[in-house]
Amino acid sequence: MFGIKACGIILIIVASSGIGFSISNIMKLRLLELAELKKLILMLRGEIKYIGTPLGEAFGVIGRRTKGIYSTLFQDTEKELEKLDGKNIADIWKEQMETAQMIKKSHLSDNDWKWLLNFAQNLGYLDKEMQLGTIELYMEQLESTLAEGNRSYGKNSKLCKCLGISAGLLLTIVFL
């Protein structure tokens, strides 16, 4: 009887701690994905600023250089842009974001996606200055999101882990 109880206690503590650690891990992965996105946007800025590469080609170059979750998004967008089939760039980008399976695997928040969608809506339009301005604006947004994320991660990560363990202990006491 004691053995069964001990097993139950262990299972409860492990499971609730796991939830805490998992939430903390999701927060960490989101930050890593945001950092990767920032790197890719920097590459896009370089392609536009120094080489004047058209968007489709630039997306392709960037997509092929990353193995992360954005590879599909950028490469599929390049393919769609090449079709020239009556859609504007914002619609294409939105479609790709919605259809890409990566969204399901992604750890970005809804707000992160919304910012990324807004960013693409002004791409391709007007001159190089305008493009670089749009990219700079998005970079600032990303940097502030990352800074805020890093700050809250340090605090919330520990909190989640502690809450997970504490919840496990509390449940154990309640069930006992």
Partner: protein, 320 residues
């Protein structure tokens, strides 16, 4: 006079060439593209497609102008076409738009007109684009065969100036001349040719690879200003011949003289209708006086585009 476009016969032409020209339809707004696809055009005969806001779609086909029935071009269609021509990236074509045209894949030239934005007496940009003219490039293998005997002297090429009004085939002749000299022909074996393709019309490079046949010994500087490109080629690729299209500015002439002084031969085209036009051009007249050009080839479109009207030697004596 209104001549509606009717179903046209499909002419026999190199399949690759037809396909390449058919690809040009991709740059048009979807609605315009569908109409053009429905016309069953022979792309070997199609010369120009013109779009003007609120006006009918006009084609220049086999040297005749045709209005496409009931098709009035809208502002949205023009905007969509501009977006496609620029690959959704207007910023990447700023310099070309300033000059008023963009060369698209296949070497076709898309000209724009609208409201010009100036800054300090310089064209900064073009907005409210309301007029588009698409000029189709035609690659004609063997177009330069007629002039080949005149551009060689004992197996060595000569400095050649091709004089032609717009739309009379000077780029087509130059391209084929480059191909023939590079590959080798009945008059000389193949030699290294450098092409400064400022507007991507000669080689029609896409992602750095020539889409037109320009010969196996040809090096291309794509989208490079002529005056800089000629000197870069001399220093880097040691060509025997350098080919450039549409010279006219003083800096081009300086570079030409430099190249001629390096022992490298020149194949060059210029706008004009006869030799006398060149003698009166502000910068080019010096090169005529200095007898830099060993051959002048004058083109017109009598009978067909790219007709060789006359050929002169460096003294201005007519050879043909």
């Amino acid at each position: 006079m209104r001549e509606p476009v009717r179903k046209c016969q499909v002419d026999v032409m190199g399949e690759g060439s037809v396909e390449k020209n058919r690809d040009v339809l991709r740059i048009f707004a979807l609605s315009v593209r569908k109409i053009l696809e429905g016309l069953d055009l022979d792309f070997g005969k199609l010369q120009e497609i013109r779009l003007r806001v609120g006006m009918p779609l006009i084609l220049l086909y086999d040297n005749h102008e045709y209005l496409v029935d009931k098709k009035i071009v809208s502002r949205e269609e023009i905007n969509e076409t501009v977006e496609y021509v620029c690959n959704y990236s207007v910023y990447a074509y700023e310099e070309e738009l300033r000059q008023g045209f963009v060369t698209v894949q296949g070497g076709h030239r898309v000209g724009f007109a609208g409201k010009i934005v100036c800054e300090n007496d310089r064209v900064k940009s073009i907005k409210n684009i309301s007029f588009i003219n698409v000029r189709l490039a035609h690659e004609v293998i063997g177009a330069a065969n007629v002039i080949l005997p005149y551009v060689y002297d004992k197996g060595f090429p000569m400095h050649t100036l091709i004089i032609s009004p717009p739309g009379c085939g000077k780029t087509t002749i130059l391209r084929d001349l480059v191909r023939s000299v590079s590959e080798g022909n009945a008059y000389a074996k193949g030699m290294t040719v450098g092409v400064v393709d400022e507007r991507s019309e000669i080689a029609a490079c896409y992602m750095g690879i020539p889409q037109n046949k320009i010969g196996m010994r040809t090096d291309v500087l794509d989208c490079c200003p002529k005056e800089k490109g000629m000197i870069m080629l001399i220093r880097s690729m040691s060509p025997k011949v350098i080919a450039v299209d549409e010279i006219g500015q003083s800096k081009d002439i300086e570079a030409l003289k430099y190249v001629a002084g390096c022992g490298c031969k020149l194949f060059v085209t210029v706008h004009g209708t006869r030799l006398e036009d060149i003698k009166s051009k502000p910068f080019l007249q010096d090169t005529v006086k200095d007898e830099i050009w060993e051959r002048y080839i004058v083109l017109d479109n009598v009978g067909h585009v790219g007709n060789i009207n006359s050929i002169y030697d460096k003294k201005g004596i007519r050879l043909k």
